[in-house]
Amino acid sequence: MSVLKRLTEPKSLETMSPLGSVLVYGALIVWSLVVLFPLYWIAITSLKLPIHVSAGPVYLPYIDFMPSTHAWHYIFYDLGNDTLRPYMNSIVVALVSTVLAMLIGSMAAYALSRLEFAPRLASILLFIFLGGVMIVAVAGFGVPWWIAAVVALAIFLLLARAVGRTMRASLGNGDILFWIISQRILPPVVAALPIYVMFQSLSLLDTRTALIATYTTVNLPIVVWLMYDFFVTIPKDLEESASLDGASRFAIFFGIVLPLARPGLVATGLLVLILAWNEYLLALFLSSANAQTMPVLVAAQNATRGPQWWYMSVLILLMILPVIGLTLLLQRFIAKGLLLGAVKG
């Protein structure tokens, strides 16, 4: 056997050839460095004095430069509560909005995966049309909004059936699912101004409530979309069996379906949590002093005095740590084979 062949031929179907493993592991090592280096850089930057940052790159503490805890001291003692408050804000907003989005989104996804919906296209168009008329009446002709709303609703209820009879086309679950996902295709920033005005008129600007409501809404489509795929893989037999065993729909959902969708719940929950944790733009619009979250605080370190890299690094480390911890903690729940033994021999 030639040397080339021995290098490129795997020993068995389950293994890689010697050359292949060198290439693959080489690429993985390079990529690991690409991923890990920024983390290292942030960690050492948090220990640098401003002079070390501005005077050109230094890489190794104690060798290139003398580490200093001045940035940590500033963040924890000088800022003190001004660090803690955004930190708590971030934790509360991210956790609560994630729980809400998971709860509402899972139920919506479950309904879409199990029940047959067929809204009439005509009714939907009628609803949109009446909504438009209502806006024109309120904005253009000064009609009180609640009169306009009641009239529009009355007309809708009156005409919906008649319109549905003449135009028989209806939508299905697939259309509804796509519509929900399409809400996420639209970048949230497009709606930032209306959302701002809405919370302003509700006097909820700069509150956690506003952020929780917004993040829940923005993340809902992702939850519905991802959880739908998990729910359709759960055999219907299980739920039918449970319903014959005497369980209500809610008992089936919380006792049978959700436990079996746990890997999906954990993965989706983590994703949504991280999205809410890192969200910057809407937080910038909706919060100022009281409800400020960590990403906004990080960005604020680039204020009048120019970018304060050392402070930013400390804050970024503070932001990363809980996410890493949570991911490690929940990883074991993202196990496979949970449905094993449910059906068939």
Binding site: D237, S241, S243, L244, G246, I256, L260, V343, K344, G345
Partner: protein, 349 residues
């Protein structure tokens, strides 16, 4: 409790899968719904369970009209073909589930589950998860879960079809014994005629959503109501010969013979079960033909003969030794001949 199906039918869009089915299951009775796939038997069962809506007609369990009652309120238990065990629950929790959702006291649940588990020999496996069980054990968990709360009726959808042949035979006997012990009305769906014949007090044969015959296994075998039932029940199936009847004497291309009937002049079909026929020497017997194939089964030999246009299978002795192409006769008693109207397929008595 009595289960009454009163002219129930089911349509999916334009397709009518069940046509005005009426039948009554007596208290303690084991009724088998037998049919090929697409006969509507599973649909009928799911309608009784409440998993499918009823297009028209009424379902009554006991004294209660349950046509529009949710499955959980019907007080019936069902064993699914797939077993449908809850994979995240232990065997104990699987069996306990029907009691747990009814919020029964803990001590009662504990003792009921242990009782039932002992009955189906699962008491050593209560801490296992379904994935750690064999097919037969999973089957028993499904059974235990069905019997633990003493429902008004059992519904079983091909519960044995996922087991291997040996285990199936064993579970069949256990099932029959257990149903007898519990005395709870049972409706059992299968496509396997052996299961139907061995388990049932009465068998209902369905074909394309229409009830063909509802009778005891013996009557179904001995007096099939029509040609479909005659051909469906029995393995190998009944031999059929087309011909005419003259004063009770049947005539066809390959011979003629007397029957138990006395009518005449009709286009009829005669049916003879393979075990009712015997091979005779050429020239004797009622039909003349030649051996097409001969298969040794073990305790007997199946001999297939060509008699004119028809194929006649006869169950012969296990040491029968005939060459292919050998000319033979087929004989039988007049009373074993089943007669059917050729046009309608109905039995002529």
């Amino acid at each position: 409790m009595t289960i009454v199906l009163d002219r129930i039918s089911k349509s999916f869009g334009q397709v009518e899968v069940l046509k005005t089915l009426s039948l009554e299951v007596n208290p303690g009775e084991f009724l088998v719904l037998l049919g090929a796939s697409g006969s509507g038997k599973t649909t009928a069962l799911r309608m009784i369970a409440g998993l499918e809506s009823v297009s028209s007609g009424r379902i009554v369990i006991g004294q209660r009209d349950v046509t529009n009652v949710l499955p959980k309120n019907r007080d019936v238990a069902m064993v699914f073909q797939s077993y449908a065990l809850y994979p995240h629950k232990t065997v104990f929790d699987n069996i306990a589930y029907p009691l747990a959702v009814r919020k029964r006291p803990k001590a009662e649940i504990e003792s009921s589950v242990r009782d039932v588990a002992r009955q189906v020999q699962l008491d050593q496996l209560l801490d296992r998860f379904p994935r750690q069980l064999s097919g037969g054990q999973r089957q028993r968990v499904a059974l235990a879960r069905a019997i633990v709360r003493r429902p008004s009726a059992f519904l079983m959808d091909e519960p044995l079809s996922n087991l291997d042949a040996k285990l199936r035979g064993h579970m069949r006997a256990e099932l029959k014994h257990m149903q007898h012990e519990l005395g709870i009305a049972t409706i059992y769906v299968t496509h396997d005629q052996i299961e139907a014949m061995t388990l049932a007090h009465r068998v209902a044969i369905l074909e394309r959503g229409v009830l063909q015959q509802l009778d005891t296994p013996a009557n179904i075998y001995n007096r099939p109501a029509n040609l479909f039932v005659a051909g469906f029940i029995g393995s190998p199936p009944m031999n059929v010969l087309e011909g005419s009847l003259t004063q009770g004497r049947f005539e066809c291309g390959s011979g003629s013979f007397g029957t138990a009937s006395t009518s005449s002049g009709k286009a009829v079909v005669a049916g003879i079960r393979p075990e009712d026929g015997r091979l005779t020497a050429e020239g004797s017997g009622h039909l003349a033909g030649e051996i097409y194939a001969s298969e040794l089964i073990g305790d007997h030999t199946l001999v297939t003969c060509r008699c004119g246009d028809a194929t006649v299978t006869v169950k012969a002795d296990k040491d029968f030794d005939g060459a292919i192409g050998q000319r033979v006769g087929v004989g039988f008693e007049p009373r074993v001949v089943h007669l059917f109207d050729k046009a309608t397929g109905e039995r002529i008595s």
